[in-house]
């Protein structure tokens, strides 16, 4: 794989940005991106597909008289670049005709840099037959468990080689890798079926992530727990103390803290689709979001995490900042456009696009729950009647991120301080600040794990956002657990 897929990339960028500058636009940038995505998908003890997709193109963003235009093309030629630039300018002029409030960008120093994902083993250099064999063996192990009727297993890897150039003088090159793997087992019993899943974190690192995940060692446990889950007794609705594992919390944090902390949502940009936010701007600095145990920190600098790309798609350097500190809401995820609307002098650098063909929008940062001082046993010890939840299940939340409902992948009853047997049909419901207000303990850093998402939907046309959420186990008191059946 050549290091620079397009030998004319600088010439192409220069041609495009010359047109932008000549138009009188106050700002413009170009992103040239070459993505390679390899997906191996197994299903029921067979490899259903192996696909490798090359996706190359460029997108040009123009800010003209305070209004945006964007055009993009997969035709990477020196003739196409100025043509696409002209279209982006024309579109920006159209936007300007309806602009009542002009866009102003928060200042950012000029950056010239190259960012490369650290990797021990290049995932694209690992033999395909070894990857397929791993998935086939994993599914075979899963099916050795009596009661298992279905399985799936997959590996996913992506390499993004990107060049960002702006009219302000920034020039940034990226060579980024991300990968993940997963498998699941589905069991049938007494007319019901249930699945148990295993997921590696989505992280920016090499194939060592997959090797360290030990699929074959985990497969028998996952299969056994699928069978235990489908046979488990149902749960009585009522108030329970919950102990949530880091993988489960990654989704809870994502939906109930990550999205409401996106400033573009709070300002109404997503009102027609993803929704707005209950964390409106006047609440910043005073609103009690959670208990004093809850500190949620955005960290786009932590190596290996999905949003730690060095710079965002505004060309802003990645940063670390507080979203919630000791239970108080204090900060937003921002880009250069919306940051100045709340008086910030600099963007937090959370503006990302999912491809060359998409315009960057504010995305959730790597928001994580700051570790506490408890041990996992200590969290269980004070629970008389509770439920321990691992992994992701059903989830749903209103468009302002108040009213949510989460399931999980596996549930165990906690009785008198001890985790006992599995139960099923656990769905808990809450109102975001009340739920986080009920947190009375977070495990220490030794329990911290990182899980990520590559399918966070937002924007029209819809884009997939990538971010990693780290947490240690945490305990929540008296949460409303409702039944998993209709009408309950």
């Amino acid at each position: 794989m050549p290091e620079y897929p397009n030998p004319h990339q600088d010439e192409l960028a220069e041609l495009a940005l010359k047109r932008v500058v000549a138009s009188g636009a106050e700002y413009g940038d170009i992103r040239l991106l070459d993505s390679t995505t390899q997906t191996i998908r197994g299903e029921d003890r067979r490899i259903a597909s192996i696909r490798e997709a090359q996706d190359s193109g460029f997108g040009i963003r123009v800010l003209y008289h305070g209004a945006w235009g964007f055009a993009a093309s997969s035709v990477l030629s020196l003739e196409e670049a100025p043509r696409v630039a002209e279209l982006a300018i024309e579109i920006a002029k159209g936007s300007a005709s309806l602009a009542s409030e002009k866009v102003k960008l928060a200042d950012e120093p000029v950056h010239r840099d190259r960012v490369v994902t650290a990797r021990r083993i290049d995932p694209f250099a690992v033999a395909l037959e070894n990857k397929s064999a791993l998935l086939l063996d994993t599914m075979e192990y899963v099916h050795r468990q009596p009661g298992i009727v279905r399985s799936s297993a997959s590996l996913w890897a992506r390499r993004d080689r990107k060049l960002f150039v702006s009219t302000e003088g920034s020039r940034l090159e990226f060579d980024l890798i991300a990968l993940s793997g997963d498998f699941d087992a589905t069991a049938v019993h007494d007319g019901r079926f249930a699945s148990r899943s295993f997921n590696t974190p989505h992280l920016r690192m090499g194939y060592e992530l997959i090797e360290d995940a030990r699929f074959l060692a985990e497969a028998p446990r996952v299969a056994s727990e699928a069978v235990e889950k489908v046979k488990a007794p149902t749960t009585e609705p009522g108030l329970y103390d919950l102990v949530l594992d880091p993988e489960h919390l990654s989704l809870t944090m994502h939906e109930s803290c990550g999205h409401p902390s996106e400033l573009d949502r709070a300002l109404g940009y997503e009102a027609n689709y993803a929704g707005t936010s209950f964390l409106t701007t006047e609440k910043r600095g005073t609103f009690r979001y959670g208990s004093p145990h809850v500190s949620l920190v955005a960290d786009n600098c932590e190596p290996g995490t999905l949003a730690a790309t060095g710079y965002d798609d505004d060309g802003v350097a990645c940063q670390q900042w507080d979203i919630v500190r000791d239970g108080i809401f204090v900060g937003y995820c921002t880009n250069r456009e919306v940051a100045q609307k709340i008086g910030a002098i600099r963007s937090h650098g959370s503006n990302r696009a999912d491809s060359w063909g998409s315009v960057p929008i504010v995305r959730i940062a790597n928001i994580g729950l700051e570790p506490g001082a408890a041990t996992l046993d200590g969290l269980f010890a004070d629970v008389r009647r509770g439920i321990y939840i691992e992994g992701h299940g059903s989830y749903s939340i209103d468009q302002r991120r108040y009213n949510f409902q989460f399931g999980g992948d596996a549930f165990w009853l906690i009785e008198n301080g001890k985790r006992t047997h599995m139960v099923r049909d656990v769905v808990y419901h809450g109102i975001t600040p009340e739920f986080w207000g009920s947190c009375d303990g977070v495990a220490d850093r030794s329990h911290r794990r990182r899980y990520g998402f590559i399918t966070c939907g937002k924007g029209q046309p819809s884009q997939s956002g990538w971010m990693t959420h780290a947490a240690s186990h945490a305990r929540f008191r008296s949460v409303n657990v409702i039944g998993g059946q209709a009408g309950s």
């Binding site: 468009q399 009213n403 109102i431 046309p461």
Partner: protein, 447 residues
């Protein structure tokens, strides 16, 4: 700004150009079987919020996918680069992957040449539409909202795509597809009203009518009352019906059915919803977004899926269909749900006939809670009202529901004729508005 579309863009791949690309692939492939797929699209979206444009984008993306098979070993590679060298590299990569792949017991060679219906998948007015036309509609929606002192957030989008499938079996299909969309959330402080449309023709979006509908809902939401959770008679507008039915349609796959991992397992031929309901696929319907062929190159077709409440069809993959001896695989690209017997002509008539009910404009974030009985959850959104004695009397705070479509669609009190419906989370369907008894709202949110 020109109003006649994109004169500056390179043309999308025509049938002849796709045949040239496909022949290039087939000439270089050494596989036993080769399948080539094309998706070449020019799309644009003007997005607005707070009464001004916040995004205005136009993207041209062409993609060519090649699957090469040796016996039952197969591999796929794709590229966005249509130059001869890149296409040949893509064939080479697909070939390498196929050689390194294990045998797939479910692999089937590409289908033989197929007869296809000629469907109204493209409209000239949409392919000619560009940023200027989208700006015109955006201006109209924002202007109407401004006149009412409301905020407007929404999109106007249009696209044209050429889609093709070709194979070493002689299979060849190529089709042009246009798509135009409009959706608007009108905001009156905390209150919101929503409306949306999608059509092959940009002329059929009815922007003014839908804008006024969203404005009316937002204005009615200014005074809102909170009702307790519990079972209610509901009137679901078509978008809300579409949300529940889409969740049902996505789980009709035959493989899950046969493995016992489907809510429908054992129910083929049995009654699953009210016997007045029939679900058909109507790819030739001009108000649906039917397509001429699938990604496998199979022809789409009109077909019955639920007949008078009975489940009569499953969604088959090619392998499972072959195992069951099914030659023609029914598709579900253009669903139409209709009711038999007395129906009311419009939503307004349905409201007039109602003593007391909750009127739901739309659902949001519908997710499966229990896949065994298809229990779903989700929130009402952008217009939830109390109807009493034939009229809307107030807005109500949004509810979370906890229901299975397999139960609630057996509790139908009344329905209208089917009309167009689309949401941000569903494809387009034709469905009636419906009144349902004992619809279970499990909690209330803060707005």
């Amino acid at each position: 700004m020109s109003t006649t579309g994109h004169k500056t863009w390179p043309k999308l791949a025509s049938p002849d150009e796709f045949r040239f690309l496909a022949d290039l692939v087939l000439k270089h492939s050494t596989g036993d079987h080769t399948l080539v797929s094309l998706h070449d699209q020019q799309s644009g979206t003007t997005r607005f919020a707070n009464n001004q444009i916040v995004q205005n984008v136009d993207t041209r993306r062409g993609s060519l996918s090649v699957t090469v098979a040796f016996g039952r070993r197969h591999g796929t590679a794709a590229t966005t680069d249509f130059t001869a060298g890149a296409v040949q590299e893509t064939v080479t990569r697909a070939t390498q992957i196929a050689h390194l792949s294990p045998e797939d017991p479910e692999y089937l060679p590409p289908v033989e040449p197929q007869p296809y219906l000629t469907l109204p998948t493209t409209r000239a007015e949409t392919s000619a539409a560009g940023p200027a036309r989208r700006l015109e509609y955006t201006n109209e929606a924002i202007g109407q909202c401004r006149m009412e002192n409301l905020g407007a957030a929404g999109i106007v989008s249009s696209s044209i795509a050429t889609v093709g499938v070709s194979a070493s079996t002689g299979l060849f299909a190529h089709e042009e597809r246009t798509d135009a969309r409009f959706s608007l959330t009108a905001q009156a402080g905390e209150a919101t009203g929503w409306s949306a449309a999608a059509h092959r023709s940009i002329d059929h979006l009815r922007v003014q009518e839908r804008t006024l509908a969203a404005i009316d809902k937002a204005k009615r939401g200014l005074e809102v009352r909170e009702l307790p959770p519990g079972p209610y008679t509901v009137i679901l507008e078509p978008a809300a019906v579409a949300g529940l039915w889409s969740s049902l349609l996505w789980t009709l796959d035959a493989k899950s059915y046969e493995k016992g991992t489907s809510a429908f397992s054992g129910k083929l031929g049995q009654s699953i919803v009210d016997k007045r309901l029939t679900l058909r696929n109507l790819p030739a319907h001009e108000d649906l977004l039917g397509i001429g062929f699938t990604t496998d190159g199979l022809p789409t077709m009109a077909s019955d899926w639920i007949t008078e409440g009975r489940l009569t069809q499953l969604a088959y993959d090619r392998f499972t269909a072959k195992e069951r001896g099914i030659d023609k695989i029914p598709t579900l690209d253009a669903p139409c749900l209709s009711g038999k017997g007395p129906s009311l002509p419009t939503l307004q008539e349905l409201i007039k006939s109602t003593e007391r009910a909750i009127l739901v404009t739309n659902f949001w974030y519908i997710r499966t809670v229990n896949p065994t009985d298809l229990t779903l959850t989700g929130m009402t959104r952008d217009g939830t009202f109390l109807v009493e004695n034939g009229a809307i009397v107030s807005a109500v705070k949004n509810f979370r529901f906890h229901e299975s479509p397999l139960q609630v669609f057996n509790r139908i009190a009344a329905f209208t004729n089917p009309v167009e419906a689309i949401t941000s989370e569903t494809g387009k369907l034709l469905v009636p508005a419906m009144m349902l008894h004992d619809f279970h709202f499990s909690s209330v949110t803060r707005f």
